[in-house]
């Protein structure tokens, strides 16, 4: 990866470049459109939304929908807003991401540097788990969680997310570590370094980019999950379930501005992660998962 330079050797003319910028900007607008619609309508009073133009800027700017979505909107019996659910999500996501990333790193390390007979099979088995549709595991998972006494607990939810995340994290770390020179590991072994010591001292320090990929991927998937959250969350339901309760309420005036504000609030952590860590994302992909 150090050999690759950041720019290309292709040269382009003025007309071509104008065209390139035009296309790139048009696509940027396309990608931004839903966020724009959500953003602009979340700061309008409801009267401006009904019958107005969804693209129009507000005539009266208001932050009331945001305040309502955060702290006073009706989510259940009590008008609590999304606030309490935010904490539920954090308490679930952080351990689940951390555990699945660490486990993935260790698995990747073993599958590339401590190879044994049948290791490819083990990897193949784990990889296929990435493709299982979550709806089919719901019922058997409920049985298992019930037997373990973890049904309706945050620990149970963390377990579920770790189980279905390690396929991806193992894939990322395995492909990344595959490019790491095995000779260095052997040399360290001869010097008497053990399994964990080698991991800790040699591989971990260079794992930054792929850890970022793994964390972004897991964080987004787990934060956005609804199905497991609603089924196994019990009374500590995550943010997505609360947002669903806000948006899907069956009767009464639909307060679209509050819905949009709530939706953006629910998405802020993942947006934040993508935007802050996004620059490392391409670098991480480059280093590992795509080159294979």
């Amino acid at each position: 990866m150090s050999a690759a330079s950041q720019d290309t050797a292709v040269s382009t003319g003025r007309v071509t470049r104008t065209f390139l910028y035009l296309v790139l900007i048009l696509f940027a607008l396309f990608y931004l459109l839903p966020l724009y619609v959500m953003g602009v309508n979340s700061v309008k009073p409801l009267s401006e939304i009904t019958g107005g133009n969804m693209m129009a800027l507000p005539q009266i700017w208001t932050l009331a929908p945001w305040r309502s979505a955060w702290s006073t909107a009706q989510i259940g019996v009590e008008p609590t807003g999304l606030k309490p659910y935010f904490l539920n999500s954090i308490l679930m996501v952080v351990p689940a991401v951390a555990i699945s990333t660490v486990v993935g790193a260790l698995n990747g390390y073993i599958l590339t540097k401590w190879r044994f007979r049948g290791d490819t099979w083990v990897f193949g088995l784990m990889l296929f788990s990435c493709f299982i549709p979550f709806q089919i595991v719901l019922i058997p998972m409920a049985v298992v969680l019930g037997k373990l006494g973890l049904a309706g607990t945050v620990s149970g939810l963390i377990l579920v997310h770790v189980v279905y995340g390690i396929g991806f994290t193992t894939l990322y770390f395995r492909n990344y570590y595959a490019a790491f020179p095995t000779e260095l590991i052997r040399a360290a072994q001869i010097d008497g370094a053990g399994f964990f010591r080698i991991f800790w001292r040699i591989l971990l320090p260079v794992s930054g980019p792929i850890a970022v990929v793994s964390v972004i991927w897991q964080f987004t998937n787990i934060w956005n999950d609804f199905l497991f959250g609603v089924s196994f969350g019990g009374t500590s339901q995550p943010m997505t379930v609360a947002l669903n309760n806000l948006v899907q309420s069956s009767t009464g005036v639909k307060e679209y501005n509050v819905h949009f504000a709530g939706a953006i609030l629910a998405a802020l952590p993942t947006l934040f992660v993508y935007i802050v860590a996004g620059r490392y994302f391409v670098r991480g992909l480059m280093a590992g998962s795509v080159k294979g």
């Binding site: 790139l24 493709f131 549709p133 998972m141 609804f226 939706a263 998962s289």
Partner: protein, 297 residues
């Protein structure tokens, strides 16, 4: 006596340690993935309705499944959806990656804009999309308010066209991510190869077609795998955009399976559709995994 004993134990432990560390992952995978798949297969041969009940009914669920018109709609839809979605996402992703790779000013700003949709679930963006596609509120209304009186965009209300709105939203969500994968692939290509080809007089077009795109093969494969698994799993966006409508025109295997298992209390039929889905996934993934893993031996 004692010293070599501990040394032996140490080496043995070092030999076993990697397998011990890997074992829990393998165990949970076997139970939570393969065990559950087995459970689903068994379920598909039972007369389960509301909860799992192990009364054997043979292939009855499969017969019922294939007699249902909605299942055929779902299969036709996933075929249209998956092929369009994969092709369009790959094309757009590749194009944007190549364009972004031309020393574009503001790349640092454009990249997160292309990527962010992947961060959002359709629970978040569903309402915005519904609005955008709704003729009365969305694109059509906006265009007309801006003076283009004859503009019509009513795909979401049209049984024939609604599936394409799902493609549109799905492409919006993932094409930027595919772009990032291609961009990573492009950045990994050694510039010397390109320079050499240019000296030989290759045009830009030829350069990309003959040299760069073949070199991106791994990125293509990864994109294909990620896109096809997202396509088969696509559930949220159908529910958020059309709820399977108009009528059941946008039913997909995942929504079909969910509704039979959880809202129609016909768990047996739901399980049999899940088995068909899993077999399809396996038919696509197993050859790919096999080729990939064999290559790396």
């Amino acid at each position: 006596m004692a010293a070599p004993g501990t040394a032996d134990f140490r080496t043995q432990l070092q030999d076993w340690l990697p397998k011990l560390v890997l074992a829990p992952s393998l165990a949970v995978t076997l139970l939570f993935v393969y065990g559950f798949i087995l459970f689903t297969i068994v379920l598909s041969f039972t007369g389960s309705k509301m909860l799992p009940r192990f009364t054997w009914v043979g292939f009855e669920n499969y017969e019922k499944l294939f007699a249902l018109p909605a299942w055929h709609t779902a299969i036709a839809n996933i075929a249209i959806f998956a092929s369009l979605y994969i092709v369009i996402c790959t094309a757009i992703g590749l194009m944007l990656a190549i364009f972004l790779d031309q020393k574009i000013r503001g790349e640092g700003m454009l990249r997160p804009i292309y990527l962010y949709p992947m961060a959002l679930s359709f629970i978040v963006t569903g309402t915005a999309w519904k609005w955008f596609l709704d003729p009365g509120i969305g694109l059509q209304n906006v265009m007309r308010q801006w003076g283009w009186e004859s503009f019509t965009f009513t795909w979401i209300k049209d049984s024939e066209m609604a599936i394409y709105t799902i493609v549109l939203a799905a492409v919006w969500q993932t094409s930027g991510f595919v772009m990032a994968m291609f961009l990573a692939g492009l950045r990994g290509i050694d510039n010397e190869i390109l320079k050499a080809a240019q000296i030989d007089g290759a045009s830009n077009w030829q350069l990309y077609r003959r040299i760069v795109i073949p070199l991106l093969r791994p990125a293509f494969l990864s994109a294909f795998v990620i896109l096809s698994h997202l396509a088969i799993k696509s559930y949220d966006l159908v529910v958020a955009l059309t709820g399977g409508g108009p009528g059941r025109a946008t039913e997909m295997p995942a929504t079909f399976m969910y509704s039979y298992t959880f809202t129609r209390n016909q768990m047996g039929i739901g399980a049999s559709s899940a088995v068909i889905m899993l077999m399809t996934i396996a038919a696509i993934m197993v050859p790919y995994l096999y080729a990939e893993l064999k290559e790396k031996k």
